[in-house]
């Protein structure tokens, strides 16, 4: 059912050319008929207009189905949708006039047909923008000189390569060459400095007076926050760079990064914004920042699957970096060698591990020393003795260890206590005390 709808939707780019052809043909027939030698062509206009109307309605329906499936820019989509539907309605109206109103002025009718041609051109252009991108066919594209993307941070120009592309990408849709909401445009440096209807947007060297900076740093719920209407906001890196550009670089258009003597943080931000550094920025400074800096960022997901296939429960504790919580179900019947290899393949990512109640002896668990990033380890209800301490006493991240109902003795515990990081050792019901 859904596939049929999608299928029809994808026919839109094909079907859409039918009304274009039919309606243009209707226009040319009508105009040519003004020449007395071809007067008879006028009789064909209603039929061709009818075909144009029918195919325009079909193109609208298919176009709607297509719009359901893809991520189209809502502004462009809306323009195309409204103009397309208007075109279909217009074709129908012209047809009706031609058939039902025999006294209608043929001059005005031709004029209306020409107006419809303008509408076809507009709607078609919007459709093309949707498919190919709005800079595919524009006057600007004809004259613009493209600057090559810089290959290194030091070769970059702060405004031209960094700040301007960000502004164009995040603000250009409404404040660009096309639309100029609030009479403000980021199309080039001069226009940016011209400001908006509310006054200057950027005041060189004065962050607090720069309206642009205020708008992008408001609370996202604030009605003056930009970008508005739920469009993608600027990232912390981007905001930082814009602030630096306004304040330190006095909003100059041509400063190079080298001349600015920027600090490392700034250079890193530039690298990330330019896509020269593939590591994503931390989600936010307060959450998980540097907490897991020692754990590798990525992990082949098939390694996790093969551990799961061995019967272990693997929970994802964090995506970036990949941090895992691994549990062997109690009384699993598995021996250490059954899953050891798979576990060690993801070893640097495991921070929580639960091997309780599985009849493990000390020597079964010698692999624990190869899980260097463990923070919480549950080993309760296993026949373990003080030997287990040897594997664990040097773990630098281990903070909680559960040894309840094992045969570990006070000697083993005190050995473990020498690990300064290990804050909590659970030693309830030790078998040694019975």
């Amino acid at each position: 059912m859904l596939d049929i709808l999608t299928f029809f939707g994808r026919l839109h780019p094909v079907v859409v050319h039918l009304p274009i052809g039919f309606l243009l043909l209707a226009v040319s027939l009508d105009l040519t008929a003004w020449n007395p030698r071809f007067h008879y062509l006028r009789q064909a206009v209603p039929f061709v207009l009818f075909l144009g109307f029918l195919s325009a309605v079909a193109a609208c329906l298919f176009g709607y189905l297509l719009s359901l499936t893809g991520d189209y820019d809502t502004v462009l989509l809306n323009r195309h949708k409204v103009s397309g539907i208007a075109l279909a309605v217009g074709a129908g109206a012209l047809l009706w006039i031609r058939i039902r109103m025999s006294t209608f002025s043929p001059q005005i009718f031709s004029g209306m047909l020409i107006a419809m041609m303008a509408l076809i051109t507009y709607s078609g252009h919007q459709g093309g923008n949707l498919t190919h991108g709005s800079d595919y066919l524009s006057m600007q594209a004809l004259f613009e000189e493209k600057r090559e993307k810089p290959v290194s941070v030091s070769a970059a120009l702060l405004f031209e390569d960094v700040v301007h592309p960000v502004l164009r990408q995040k603000c250009g849709q409404c404040h660009g060459p096309g639309k100029m909401k609030g009479k403000f445009s980021v199309a080039n440096h001069a226009k940016l400095m011209d400001g908006s209807k509310n006054g200057p947007a950027v005041v060189p060297g004065k962050l607090a007076e720069s309206e642009l900076f205020r708008r992008i740093t408001l609370d996202p719920g604030h009605k003056e926050f930009m970008p508005t209407d739920g469009k993608t906001p600027l990232t912390a890196d981007e905001i930082g760079l814009i602030a630096y550009w306004i304040e330190q670089a006095h909003a100059e258009p041509t400063q190079s990064m080298e001349a600015l003597q920027a600090n490392d943080t700034l250079l890193m931000q530039v690298a990330r914004v330019l896509g020269l550094d593939n590591r994503p920025a931390k989600v936010s400074a307060s959450d998980n920042a540097n907490e897991y800096g020692h754990i590798p960022e990525t992990l082949d997901i098939t390694l996790v699957e093969s551990l799961r296939n061995k019967g272990l429960n693997v929970r994802l504790n964090l995506q970036q970096p990949v941090v895992l919580d691994v549990t062997l179900p109690d009384h699993s019947g598995l021996k250490a060698e059954d899953f050891r290899e798979e576990l060690l393949h993801v070893g640097h990512h495991v921070v929580w591990l639960n091997l309780s109640d599985n009849d493990f002896k000390d020597e079964d668990l010698s692999f624990l020393k190869d899980l260097p990033n463990l923070e919480k380890l549950r080993l309760e209800n296993n026949p373990l003795t003080d030997g287990i301490a040897d594997y664990l006493q040097n773990m630098q991240y281990l903070e909680a260890l559960n040894l309840n109902a094992t045969a570990v003795t006070a000697a083993g515990i005190s050995k473990l206590r020498k690990n300064p990081k290990l804050e909590r050792i659970y030693s309830w019901n030790l078998k040694g005390r019975d």
Partner: protein, 505 residues
Amino acid sequence: MSHHHDNENNFRLHTPAFDSLNKRLDRRNFLTKTSLGIGALALGSLLGKNGASGKIASSATASNAAIDDVISALPHFAPKAKRVIYLFMSGGPSQIETFDYKPALVERYGQDLPGSVRQGQRLTAMSANQSKFPMVPSRYKFNQHGKNGTWVSELLPHTAKVIDELCIIKSLHTEHINHDPAITFFQTGNQLPGRPSIGSWLSYGLGTDNQNLPSFIVLVSKNAPKDQPLYTRLWGNGFLPSEYQGVEFRAGKDPVLYLNNPDGYDGTDRDEMLDYLTRLNKLQNSAYGDPEVDARIAQYEMAYRMQTSVPDVMSVVDEPDEVFDLYGPDSRDPGTYAANCLLARKLLEKDVKFVQLYHQGWDHHGGLPAGMENQCRQTDQSTAALITDLKRRGLLEDTLVIWGGEFGRTVYSQGQLTPTNYGRDHHPRCFTMWMAGAGVKAGFSYGETDEFSYNIVKDPVHVHDFQATLLHLMGVDHERLTYKFQGRRFRLTDTHGNVVKDILT
């Protein structure tokens, strides 16, 4: 059993009754579902996506991808807690007789509540027409306990002993003044029925850690006064798929009915029977595409696994006497609050994600002293025992314990104030809850009320803030766990809620 219908065509039944299933898309169906469907879709877009066409669009593949995006982004943070046990004290326990110590009230005994305190705030219809609002202090003494000398009422002697594990929040406030909206608000984020409960959201977002038990289990005490009812919507799935609803275990010896095989049936071919049933259901669903059928398939399979897992987890024969002594004498009587606390610990040991206990009877409009004494006697020891038991087993490392009701109670007496008896009306402007375990500060107290325990003077915590904090501890950003329903994205905290960072470790 002798025939194995491995070929699906053989498996399909060709009888008149099944014909409509077999045809799937015949001519008429095709036309209704395509041409009319297309027209309806176009019309729907012109009319602003209302009604049936909106429904069709919402089940399109694009929105399935959106669901996957929401789920695959989880967890958003490294979780501190893997499991939650939420002890819901239904009815609204008085903060004044438990944790919010207000010694200055003693001198104001019987005086009218100053208008400057009430500030014209609304009261319930039950006490709004009183000619006087005589203030009444706690009848019960408070003593200091634990490392920080925290004041705790003598009604809670056992809880006082584990005070160093608790993170007490004295500045909760809610928007609702009556039980039903207040409790629905607490459990689902909205005062009106229809939203998923906290446990359902977590179960939906984070999945299960134990395939053999539901990830969201509800236990209701049998030994509590049933003055205010509970509704299954409090643990309902709302608009989420049905398999994420809380599963209520019955209070008593047989918590899940019909888990035992009937007489004369040994259950050996149950597996095969369910396999065929699943295939039949899938066959039907390939034509209808109803998510409720998927949910039913999942529930049948869960019930099958519960035939072994539930008797296993319910059995307390292996628990030593010492454990029953810890939880109190009621713990030997299945279905009581104490027995439920013990059962909850066993469920948590099995990595059930969200266990919710309800204990009713805290609604003391009158006869508060006798009522509070009884309620505390029923719950205090086993609540403290649960903390102690989880702590020594190492489970408090990654388990979050929550205790609290839906609102607090007024400083003034509802009805006649006598030297030995008084009542308190509903009070949404301040009340006390506590959390303990994974990720929250132990031996910590947060927020303050004025000397009347009427208004909050420091660090208010709204119900949505509490919900946001709970989700945060489980690794979930409350703003990003959303579900699109009837054309908009919903979340537990609606458009509100701030994580209370100050109580986090």
